[in-house]
């Protein structure tokens, strides 16, 4: 499916969503509340068939957080990006680890690095950071560690 066809199809599924122009791939902005249903559609809709979640990450914009999901279909070889805006003080989003199992590890990474709480995640605990880590989430912009971080 070409990018234009994808856009039409996605608009059918999510009329409220907006598209972000300029990128190489179709980039869609989705509301947090719609995410779980939309994710299921992305995976199950026969024409879309996004079965390969190859990148899951988060960006701290100081005012809000943005979840970024990169999808690919191994059947049709089309790609797309989903962005979800989260509240920075209470970031919560539904997990997709039951749809794409790779999300389980990636979400755990985002959980500890950005403090995003993934609802209904089966095993949400620290993966990389040492146990008992208390304090801020390292990849947020306001994180400061005067001992280990070297500023250039």
């Amino acid at each position: 499916m070409t990018n234009e066809e994808l856009k039409i199809k996605l608009t059918e599924l999510q009329p409220a969503a907006t598209f972000q122009e300029g990128g190489e791939w179709v980039t869609i902005n989705v509301e947090v509340a719609d995410w779980l249903a939309f994710a299921g559609q992305l995976r199950q809709e026969e024409a879309l068939f996004f079965d390969y979640l190859f990148c899951l990450t988060c960006v701290d914009w100081k005012t809000h957080l943005t979840m970024v999901y990169h999808f690919s279909s191994t059947k049709y070889r089309h790609n797309m990006v989903v962005k979800i805006k989260l509240d920075r003080n209470k970031p919560e989003v539904e997990t997709v680890s039951h749809i794409w199992r790779t999300a389980e590890f990636h979400e755990r990474e985002v959980y500890e690095m950005f403090g995003v709480n993934f609802l209904n995640h089966p095993d949400l605990r620290l993966l990389i950071l040492p146990d008992g880590w208390e304090g801020k989430n390292p990849l947020r912009k306001d994180f400061d560690d005067p001992v280990n971080m070297i500023k250039l």
Binding site: L119, V147, L152
Partner: protein, 402 residues
């Protein structure tokens, strides 16, 4: 890091750490009723690592065993996490590439390549033909070197020591080529935005041809020593089965996915540089077990040799680097590039705010996703099999921890 101290003390009793979510388990993950299997009668946990001969680095797996049978594998990461993503946020677009050589240190060239491609995509710079060919040559040499090391180390995991030395015989000559060309043997830092750092050494072609000859003379030893061995095949066949659906769902990429019959070679699917003009095959095996993954890597070495043979006499003349500004500034927006490293798909996601440093950078490392499938694969098999699985997943720990 000052925090790592308490990690070791709390290892054993953290398997039941509290959920941060709602506390409910939304789905039956692997046919179990809970995410963490409670220790049953006769079960015990062992710490596989952080210092263990089979993990090739500081990987720490907590394994729940019943006798010799594995019930659960739980990776604990972070022992060598350097937070490269955070570091890159304070480095300029010229500087951050050098850090990435330290991620997957066996594919240093390819990591640099991915970053250079991302920056070039943002700047919309056209890379000269000569630089493209040099880059591909270097990538393929790196791929062979990486697979050689994997081959030796994997055989060593299975208890055969000799292949390691045979693999290093060939790997040494690649390293010599690297040393002559870029002055480094492991962390090369040769690729820069716009091309490569400096031109090839005059001896390069001669050396590569010598290597090709050596490789062709010696490669049959690999099959004689390991591939055809009955014990080896028994250890590998049917072990660590991974179906194509699971491979995709877990985000497995690279040779590990191709062993399950998932076409995932970025060089073929989303060609970069001159890969679309080259003749080579994507190696696919459908068995999905450890032996299939093994065969994929062995055959990939042959394909890389094929690519090098096509290019080595046809390096075009011209610039080795495009003209770029002294201070690189990417336009506002996000840029994603993916390349095929020796381990799988490496993605570089740069979010730019228009400054001379990335606002946020994310490396989608193949090892991280490949590791996540280990638990799924290993359940129900023996400890010895776990070693074979880890061997054929080809885990490089700095790549997982970044």
């Amino acid at each position: 890091m000052k925090h790592t101290v308490d990690k070791e003390t709390t290892l054993l009793n953290e398997s039941q750490a509290p959920f941060a979510g709602s506390g409910e388990v939304p789905y039956d993950r692997y046919g179990d009723t809970s995410a963490g299997i409670a220790l049953g009668d006769g079960d015990f946990q062992i710490n596989f690592g952080p210092q263990h001969p089979a993990t090739h680095g500081v990987l720490h797996l907590v394994i729940t065993l019943n006798g010799e049978t594995i019930k659960k594998v739980e990776p604990h990461l972070g022992y060598i996490h350097r937070s490269i993503e955070k570091m890159c946020e304070s480095l300029t677009y010229r500087q951050f590439i050098y850090v990435t050589s330290r991620m997957d240190y066996l594919s240093a060239h390819i990591n640099n390549h991915a970053c250079a491609l991302a920056v070039e995509k943002g700047l919309q710079v056209e890379v000269p033909a000569r630089a493209q060919v040099i880059r591909v040559l270097m990538d393929e040499l790196t791929r062979i070197a990486s697979h050689e090391l994997w081959w030796g180390a994997m055989a060593m995991d299975l208890g055969a020591f000799t292949p390691f030395f045979h693999a290093f015989r060939e790997r040494e000559s690649i390293n010599d080529i690297m040393e002559e060309t870029c002055g480094a043997r492991l962390t090369m830092n040769y690729m820069v935005p716009g091309g490569v750092m400096h031109d090839l050494h005059p001896n390069f072609q001669k050396r590569v041809k010598e290597f090709l000859q050596l490789y062709k003379r010696k490669i049959h030893e690999y099959d004689e020593l390991v591939t055809g061995n009955v014990i080896f095949q028994n250890r590998m066949k049917g072990v660590g089965y991974l179906s194509a659906e699971d491979a995709i769902a877990y985000g497995v990429s690279g040779p590990s996915a191709r062993g399950s019959g998932v076409s995932s070679d970025i060089r073929k699917l989303y060609p970069y540089e001159i890969y679309d003009k080259l003749e080579f095959d994507e190696v696919l095996e459908i068995a999905g077990d450890s032996f299939a993954r093994y065969m994929v890597r062995i055959n990939e070495m042959h394909q890389s040799i094929r690519i090098i043979e096509q290019l080595i006499d046809n390096i075009p003349e011209g610039d080795f680097q495009a003209k770029t500004k002294n201070v690189l500034k990417l336009p506002k927006g996000d840029f994603y590039t993916r390349v095929e490293t020796a381990r799988g798909e490496l993605g570089v996601y740069i979010v730019s705010e228009g400054g001379n440093t990335p606002y946020r950078i994310k490396f989608r490392s193949p090892g991280f996703s490949n590791l996540s499938v280990l638990d799924h694969m290993a359940r129900g098999s023996k400890i010895g099999d776990l070693v074979a699985m880890m061997g054929t997943l080809d885990l490089v720990i700095p790549d997982i921890d970044r």
